[in-house]
Symmetry: C2
Subunit: 333 residues, 2 copies
Amino acid sequence: MPEFRRDPVIGRWVIIDSDRRFNKSDPSETESYPKDHSACPFCPGNEYMTRPEILAYSKISGRMPNSKGWTLRVIPNNQPVLAIEGNLKRRGEGMYDKMEGIGAHEIIIETPEHDIKQDRITPQYYETIYEAAIARIKDLRNDLRLEYILVFKNYGILANAVFEHPHSQLIAMPIVPKRVREEINGAKEYFSYKERCVFCDMISQELSSEIRIVDENEFFTAFCPYAARYPFETWILPKNHASDFDTISAAEISSCARITKSVFSKISKVLDDSAFSALIHMGPLKEKNMPHYHWHIEIIPKLIKTAGFEWGTGLYVNPVSPEDAAKYLRESE
Amino acid sequence: MPEFRRDPVIGRWVIIDSDRRFNKSDPSETESYPKDHSACPFCPGNEYMTRPEILAYSKISGRMPNSKGWTLRVIPNNQPVLAIEGNLKRRGEGMYDKMEGIGAHEIIIETPEHDIKQDRITPQYYETIYEAAIARIKDLRNDLRLEYILVFKNYGILANAVFEHPHSQLIAMPIVPKRVREEINGAKEYFSYKERCVFCDMISQELSSEIRIVDENEFFTAFCPYAARYPFETWILPKNHASDFDTISAAEISSCARITKSVFSKISKVLDDSAFSALIHMGPLKEKNMPHYHWHIEIIPKLIKTAGFEWGTGLYVNPVSPEDAAKYLRESE
């Protein structure tokens, strides 16, 4: 059973999971996905290889659960980081703190097509993923043990995507993770000084200066952030202030899907189908409608390695200025 | 010229350095060091390939600077992350903050031997490195633009070590990095509640429970931390409370060198010469003798990849419990 443990100095929770498969990376071995994907558990016909589905979309009326015919499918992860059953049992261990690794870890299988190409992916493709994620968040809000939900996507082996079949992930957890708490605290400080949302201010400065803008539509803007940690790091922000992702309107979902398609296409084109991670940062489940926090999507192409200096300091060295990165992305296509 | 930029939400500084060489990682290419190291700039005879040395130890009296005959050599990095000349010019850019990338980036060439084997490295080897690092810190303290010095070592390609020749690094910077500030703030909170140093408390709990202890000697203890982020993460802490690394006694330096040799040998043996990063966390240059902060060494073997989930949350999943890791390390040799 995984366990949460809290670092007594900086208060960071980690998950210790000794039952988890531990593969030491082998630098002499170039990893790649198996060429033959008849054994892919996410492919249609292999539904029996996964745990029973939680949600599925289908164009076939009367489709039996866990059978073919779906267009999108949500399943529990076979190797979950956190388990849904049990009590948190928050307790001490001498001076230390721990609790059980309770939570949910779900996989959103985005499409039945294992090999779908970027140029065949439509805005509708992302719209369906966002709708499924929102449905899952609304459902998981009923579990009062949970404090936070992270929706994310790892693409490519370098970004640690275990499966090649297109998928996103959702992890619901009983804590608000450190990075999100830092953003909220920072945004709260800004708000108490300026009485404005720091993200709203960033959007208006970026739209007026234009130099870091990647794309824009009715409800969303995409730009490379001023203090980007990684080359070609790109954020997508809703123009309308909101701290919760799962309360946006149908028109906003559609607009978000269109800009997602555009940004992913640009990144894929400019960076030659590079590995990346993308994630949604939204407010904690129990802190709704925050005036100072603004949900957003962060996209981080996996282009450089980080090591001692970055780990030891939290200070990143980025060899590509966000102005250059935005220019390349903006001008592609 | 590199530039510091501050994230307006969480206050994290990043270094944007567009002049830096940017190599996109290529997953299809297994990287390795060149077999022929006649062109290694750190090897004796190649002193002309580096910038002029800042410090050198030698057994030859009257050795000319930047010639052979040294046993350890400190040089400015040819591709420094930060530059020593100039003014900080801290200023705004709309709502954002930036300043010039002022600081020092030095390489400690640990030995003339390019291929020295772990079993031929003595405690004396590390003692000399620590003495050189301390000499450099004492000197850099005179530069009042500087706020922090990080001494660290990346070993192996997976840990981003650009050169194979054994070396450590030192980066002096005009800010206190985020990770260190977090440790200090957390330790200060603990101190204000308990009137004790959280690190001193950890040492006494670890020494009494013994389950996470890797090694111990007169002045130092090494253990796998309770909330370890990474498999086999190991910390070395001085038993005597001190926040500054460069004020420890000769006996402590010697004791620290002995435990460093022991821990590095164990890690190399158990993890089959794995890549790792090691770094010294000490107090900020302008906050001396802090009762609540405790300098220490963190060693992080590079065994697993991190991606979207870890980046998005700051929450790490560690598949090896620190108790198991400590047992393996303790029982080796």
